[in-house]
Symmetry: C2
Subunit: 313 residues, 2 copies
């Protein structure tokens, strides 16, 4: 499969697990990741890109396994000093992690596009994959809750997903459009598969679909588009997906996610525990053990998704 | 001496030694420090104020004694991570130290004046002294050398004072003026003494004198103005003062420094090793052991300067 060229669409932690599986499975430079930047925000004057950084750290082996975010072997002396001078400490930035935020902010201020900043980091970290933001201009995820309209990090980190979600929307900059290389990768005739990773559909994948031109490119792709379910047996593997689905008034099941992606995907990879749902769905499904605990799990799920994609008509 | 109100004028390391002596000697809130910000620069997109921070750290007991700059008990994980992504590492920022730069930059961007940012830090660090920047707007020290015109940190840190200095100048923002509280402190009738600390006269004190309104306020002060010599026996205690004086074509001696301050000071505190120079000088002098190695030395020199100031006519 030396001519594989796979595009994966993902958010943060959950999606990055499968992205790592794909990265380890595929030959060098065969993987393009298009990553949610709806979570990006300015904090302490720094441009923070949580999902991009999770992908950078996960693929380069620097991710913090215990925390599930940030960098391994991290120290927190910046935060301690910041606290001592009265700074804002609800969003934790590790000493090593901070380097990406400071350097990204500096490069963006100098006029470098976000994609070029990220490509430079990926290159320095020795990655053999292309990591692209969904757009260069901001598209910001806003969560309308029973506590009012919250920015994504306010909702997710500061309030720990506690408020009840009423709706999710995206504040799109006037010049926001799908990142050109991302669009080209989706539409390229030699792209062999497009995988929507098991990220939260509402918080992590919808921001991508909200970017002008993104859904159109996905619909126009000649490569098969496979989504991997983030819901197993009615529960999210990690994070607030099931809770949010309940609050949004939809059944927290893999079938709901499949329906959410209707019109965009050619196949839906269900967990084997949800095999009974396959009959309900009007799109092609396949089942596999999609729980990803170890690195081998990640590679196995990546293989299941790709092998199936290549069999789709 | 409960009604003492002392103003000290200082740069970084050398000056901060005497400032600490004054701080420990005087009753709480009796000391106002007016600090050089000609060394301030933007680095990695952050506003760095080296002399201000040296004073904050020195007075609060957080200064790194081994390095002579930055914070004690420092870690360098940010720098290591920055290096790994290709960032600029010639100016070392410790993990804890970084908190001041990030928070200062954030507050300045929000429109807070530099003096208010610093006052907030001083308050959080528990300081019972007022620390004021010489001006709110930038006045930047430029060093013309045989390698061309260099910004202060380029000259001082990146090039380690190696280039030959031809002249020193100050790039003054159109709205730069002496910080109003600094002016008021210099001119206040109840100010009992003004001490020019033994900082480098050309690199650390001249920037203050270049601020519009500063020299006038010093000349208009009713309190006695005493300068403490940064040169002992023809050598600078620390730093490039003597080298720069040679390059500027003046004799590296305490007498040259006294002449440099002519018209601004009422007395010059010489080191006892330079007692022979006293006869050369046309302004009142006093000698003392001005070498400051220990904290007791700092307090002793502070006491010598103040006791003499109070005896001046």
């Amino acid at each position: 499969m030396s001519t594989e060229r796979v595009v994966a669409i993902c958010g943060g932690i959950g999606g990055a697990k499968l992205a790592l599986g794909l990265y380890r499975l595929l030959p060098p430079r065969a993987l393009t990741l298009i990553v949610n930047t709806g979570d990006d925000f300015e904090h302490l004057g720094l441009h923070v890109s949580p999902d991009i950084d999770t992908c950078l750290y996960t693929l380069s082996g620097l991710a913090n396994q215990e925390l599930g975010w940030g960098r391994a072997d991290e120290s927190w002396n910046f935060m301690a000093a910041l606290k001592s001078i009265g700074g804002d400490t609800w969003f934790r930035l590790g000493d090593r992690d901070l380097a990406l935020h400071v350097e990204r902010t500096r490069q963006l201020a100098s006029g470098r596009p976000l994609s070029a900043v990220i490509a430079g980091f990926a290159d320095r970290l020795g990655l053999n994959a292309e990591i692209l933001p969904m757009s260069e201009a901001p598209v910001r995820t806003l969560v309308d809750t029973d506590e009012g309209l919250l920015g994504f990090q306010d909702y997710f980190v500061r309030r720990r997903c506690a408020p009840r979600v009423r709706s999710i929307s995206f504040d799109t900059a006037p010049d926001a459009t799908i990142q050109p290389r991302a669009r080209a990768a989706l539409l390229a005739p030699d792209t062999t598969a497009i995988i929507i990773c098991p990220s939260n559909p509402y918080l992590s994948i919808d921001p991508l679909l909200a970017v002008p031109g993104f859904a159109e490119a996905l619909k126009g792709a000649t490569a098969p588009v496979i989504a991997v379910s983030p819901i197993i047996g009615g529960s999210a593997v990690k994070g607030p997906t099931a809770k949010i689905m309940q609050e949004l008034g939809v059944e927290p099941s893999a079938a709901t996610v499949a329906a959410h992606y209707a019109g965009l995907i050619d196949g839906f990879l269900l967990d084997e525990r949800d095999v009974a749902l396959a009959a309900e769905l009007s799109i092609p499904t396949r089942t596999a053990d999609t729980l990803m605990t170890t690195l081998d799990d990640r590679i196995r799920v990546a293989r299941a998704a790709l092998e199936w994609a290549y069999q789709l008509p």
